[in-house]
Assembly symmetry: C2
Homo-oligomer: 145 residues x 2
DNA sequence: CTCAAAGTAACCGTAACGGTTACATTGAAT
DNA sequence: ATTCAATGTAACCGTTACGGTTACTTTGAG
């Protein structure tokens, strides 16, 4: 299966917050949900992960409660978001253990582990090159048409 | 979620076949299953995909039926296997459509699409650098210890 | 004290995956 | 032509994870 849509949602949230960042308000999850098109509860779950990773700030209680970016958009890379939201490794090894008395079965897991880690690294390096600021620009550019 | 363990299984199969390739026999799915540690039916499903992609040959009927590599191990890259077995894109977009009347909601999907495709490309480029022959060598190396 | 909003637990429907059983089909060998 | 070892495939199952929802508690600014 693929990288969960949760990652897409997280990027959407941050891009939206970045777009409105100049107002320097806290935005409630309901308002963000209006743009993303999903439920506020689901968003809060994700926002909680982003907060733990230090990407957003939360304000509880009273009027004006909600969320805003903890850093400037150009200081949040897509890799930061990936690591905040995706916890599982990209590749799965065998579910049931391979036969250790088979020459190949015995050594293939560490062999795969190496190349899997390298490949995941290649993906992450690419994600590290892009920031939320880039995404705001690109979204506005595409939205025009 | 992660890239399905099916990919790991496919690599295991091909590595195993490559290891025994010098015998130039067809090997039945039951024997391969003995090394991989999973069911022959599951293996045949995957082997079918590998055959469609031209990576293995199949022999039906009678004694000596089974599977073998269609090319030399150094001519099968891990990307070939990936494309034979994984059909879905790596990243998922929104499940429910974002709000098109929101400036960000309107343009974010094509913006994400671009960076998602680039990132998947980065992953694939890395996989293209490794071959089944490399995997045989690396497995034997790790198995020694 | 009020009240808008976050936090959280519980539950649900859906989908995909790995695994298994069962049966039809193939085709080399004799 | 028969045999039979193996593939091909459909059907089904249990488990897991995900997105979505409801309902309730907690927070804390005003």
């Amino acid at each position: 299966m693929a990288i969960v849509s949760r990652y897409t949602i997280a990027l959407h949230i941050l891009t939206w917050l970045a777009f409105w960042a100049e107002k320097d308000e806290f935005f409630p999850s309901d308002r963000i949900a209006n743009s993303v098109g999903t439920s506020p509860v689901f968003l809060r779950r994700i926002l909680g992960q982003l907060a733990k990773a230090g990407l957003v700030l939360v304000q509880h209680g009273g009027t004006g409660a909600g969320w805003k970016l903890a850093r400037r958009p150009e200081e949040i890379s897509l890799l930061d978001v990936y690591e905040a939201v995706v916890q599982t490794p990209l590749f799965e090894l065998h579910h049931s253990q391979p036969n250790p008395s088979c020459i190949i079965g015995n050594g293939i897991q560490p062999a795969l582990q190496e190349i899997y880690e390298d490949s995941e690294e290649a993906l992450k390096r690419r994600l590290a090159q892009e920031t939320i600021k880039d995404l705001v620009g690109s979204s506005l550019e595409h939205g025009k048409r």
